[in-house]
Symmetry: C5
Subunit: 243 residues, 5 copies
Amino acid sequence: MRRRHVLPLLWWLADSVTSMSEPMSPSVGLAVVHYFCKPSFEYDGEALVAAVKAAEGAGVTVITVAMLGHKADVAVMGVAADMRQLKALQTGIQHAGLDIVDSYVSLTEVSEYSKGMPEEMLNARLYPQLPPAGKNAWCFYPMSKRREHKDNWFTLEFDKRKVLMEEHGKSGRTFAGRIIQLVTGSTGLDDYEWGVTLFGVNPDDLKEVVYTMRYDEASAIYAEFGAFYMGMVTPVEELIHQI
Amino acid sequence: MRRRHVLPLLWWLADSVTSMSEPMSPSVGLAVVHYFCKPSFEYDGEALVAAVKAAEGAGVTVITVAMLGHKADVAVMGVAADMRQLKALQTGIQHAGLDIVDSYVSLTEVSEYSKGMPEEMLNARLYPQLPPAGKNAWCFYPMSKRREHKDNWFTLEFDKRKVLMEEHGKSGRTFAGRIIQLVTGSTGLDDYEWGVTLFGVNPDDLKEVVYTMRYDEASAIYAEFGAFYMGMVTPVEELIHQI
Amino acid sequence: MRRRHVLPLLWWLADSVTSMSEPMSPSVGLAVVHYFCKPSFEYDGEALVAAVKAAEGAGVTVITVAMLGHKADVAVMGVAADMRQLKALQTGIQHAGLDIVDSYVSLTEVSEYSKGMPEEMLNARLYPQLPPAGKNAWCFYPMSKRREHKDNWFTLEFDKRKVLMEEHGKSGRTFAGRIIQLVTGSTGLDDYEWGVTLFGVNPDDLKEVVYTMRYDEASAIYAEFGAFYMGMVTPVEELIHQI
Amino acid sequence: MRRRHVLPLLWWLADSVTSMSEPMSPSVGLAVVHYFCKPSFEYDGEALVAAVKAAEGAGVTVITVAMLGHKADVAVMGVAADMRQLKALQTGIQHAGLDIVDSYVSLTEVSEYSKGMPEEMLNARLYPQLPPAGKNAWCFYPMSKRREHKDNWFTLEFDKRKVLMEEHGKSGRTFAGRIIQLVTGSTGLDDYEWGVTLFGVNPDDLKEVVYTMRYDEASAIYAEFGAFYMGMVTPVEELIHQI
Amino acid sequence: MRRRHVLPLLWWLADSVTSMSEPMSPSVGLAVVHYFCKPSFEYDGEALVAAVKAAEGAGVTVITVAMLGHKADVAVMGVAADMRQLKALQTGIQHAGLDIVDSYVSLTEVSEYSKGMPEEMLNARLYPQLPPAGKNAWCFYPMSKRREHKDNWFTLEFDKRKVLMEEHGKSGRTFAGRIIQLVTGSTGLDDYEWGVTLFGVNPDDLKEVVYTMRYDEASAIYAEFGAFYMGMVTPVEELIHQI
């Protein structure tokens, strides 16, 4: 409902630079925000392009997605060291006349079960190169581990959890090449414990990997899922003509 | 809330064609989106007809439904190989002044329990001919299989699941002729694991088949249902005068 | 949000008659829709009266209710053989400037436990005479039978269910004369399996019957309830001055 | 969203008197509605004062509360023999430009465990004198008794329930003088089975009584709570300047 | 939806002072309200600064936070002895054109497990000095203790609960220096039993402390969490240029 006539985007961009607070960054890795948006009355495609370009100029990796279904028409995924720059991207999107109707805040991380990996693999998780080329089928969902009576992930021993996660990882790796997966941590930051972003070639790749892994014990018994978002990675200059 | 004065429909149609991204299709089968809509201030029936015709011209099968109840006044079900064309249908609906208030994204599929079927039956599931003639009582609902303690579908052995699904299928086939059913997969794409679309002659056919099958063990113990949508298949040219 | 200036009610009434699709009726019994409404900016009481009269003229039984509380200001309950006429009532309500904020779609039915009843009693359920005179305290709620672990109605044997339903019916009949009850089936048509409409003399009759029956095993263990709506049956000509 | 220009309040007051339907009252006790409100664009404080005064003139006890938090800015609690007068209060609030965003409908009652009380105490429950002087810390919440597997209040024997309720009552009476409690019944009328309204001197009295009683078996095992509303009883003439 | 033209902020400030009701304070400790806000059409940054300054002048400690994600753009946390002043802050925020879309009402407290602490530590909980310098990574979430079958906190003996809470406290103290935590009680006042506010240096401090403590038995088995809010503490004069 924020209206551009309150403060035109370019003025706001100039204004916000001078009033930018000191950076807020995780001590390792990057901050990630997924924004799910619908155009309001005052949607201005060119202003959206400008907001994305301004964020990229400030060091934010931005992925734009044409979304299917009523939950959102556009998704904008921002990845950056400085959360203040992600907040600026958020406000830029809003000043371009998009209402942000859902979102997810998380941080890249190396899970406690993967600490021993080679540094190159650790860095691929902490500082991922996005988006992966040619994988434009995109989905996002948040998830937590269950805490119900006997089905309580958080009362399992570490060793048991490690076994389950390795089994789960092995199941996922059978999709290597077809699917790129990014799991980011959000305990204390958003409503679930992790956010999962998938990139695939075809939409049935997304369906098959999630369906297959649901039979893994780590998912079958211990996973709880939030809403699923599906769309197609699309350059922002094209996307603005598709909504 | 997207308003047509932002971009009149015909301009947008012309504009979007030139900026259409490359196709996004499942490797087998078709993509399906169910749109549930309410007219906004700027509802324009003729523009809705034009959007449907444009989609049909681009190879999308479109079914339009006059809906009963507050959840939606109109449903538009689109089936196509290319998800980009379904996105274009989505935007066309919105530019005609309909708000999309709910939706469901899925893919046609052959379930793992039906792989051995004759090719003609496989094709009927992957490439269904819709709508079935004379079956204008229509309903849609999404569903998942339960994962609760002992009632966990995903920890059952394949053979047990196959037996339960065959029993369920047999129960459904007693409604052959009265009901056409389309089950499409959505794991990873939308909030439930499947979408179910039913076409019947009379509305009590829809009620009887769902009620009867609820006593099947596969449903009684293992099914979880989302919202149920009910309406009457109606040609778009008539439908626009009924809302 | 549909606005009358899009199409004035009388024009719409004329227009919709000529474009009315062929009837859609259950093979036995009647279709029922409960509409729960709030006036919008463009609420027009006289148009609401006209929409109700038009529906009655087309064979729809219409009951109008002044509602207490935030969930709705007005309820309109329509009962008809032809669902197309209920859709026309729905659109008439909307064109009178009422927003339909909740609703329930169901069919009159004879339950599987009551098939042996005398035909007169069967007809009273399939073709009820409404509203009952002098019973203006009104409530509606949807309900389903529970499917949870051991408390699973749908895995009980028919004979056990029949005993429980007869016990439940006996409990209800102690309110004969004070309460008229209409139970309509909605499996596959709306989010619960049944809708329950009660008519009583005093509002505490409604409270006492529902409270008392909650201790019946069929309710205590197996019932799940949706939202409860309470109001006062009121002729539409009076009602329009009370909102 | 109802707008005063549809019908100015004073006209509506005059108009509604002449079209008032016959009274609708419980056979014993009083009807109670809690309205939780936010001012709309057209909020008119003087009209709110007039609506409250009109209701009081018609025999309704009205308590107005300045609310803390986003759920509501104002609460209006009405108690009356005739529900038609509470509906008139509801409409008066709306015509004063307040949106009613939540509410609760209930009846005063003597619980089945308290039937033997002296008539004076029975009357204090059926016909309470409100508001209690000097107790301006106010809260409201709805509650039901649990029906889950072994924790099912409605399958307990009456004697067991009576013991639990007496224990619960004894626990509550240690707050006598600090807290006035009103428990009203709503089974069949609204979404929970009871509404609880508390009046205290200090806000920590409200917190302490609810926290302490949560350890009673009747609450610890068997209670399910809805939303909690907290505010400060305030004369309507002052309240209209505080929102 | 309250609009400033109903009553300009300065007039309202003057007006509300003269009509302020008598104070409403807890008998010990302070009242706390967290407001989560989005700018409306009529957002006026200078008016927000004025509202914050007016509250501070009246003895309210005010912390302003730039929020990430769709749930809120701004959070305003007010701490004061007099709840009437927090209500005035609430109205001031609204008159500055911010819609309050979520909130939490609570009181500072010393838990029953910590009564024996030195008075200085008791006072730090009842009368906290906020915000802590240099800890601008901020999050808030509400929580309750579980009451499910065997996992029922409220049927545990006091001694068992005390052991669990001490273990939980020890786990939390390993984050001393990195995290400042404020736990405030809300039973009877808001929907959960406690509100938790965390201040850290880096956002991964917030994530790590909540993730680590989730494995404590007191959380793993007995905690239920509401929505998580994450943002960056920011002086109001800077914040108004960032939204």
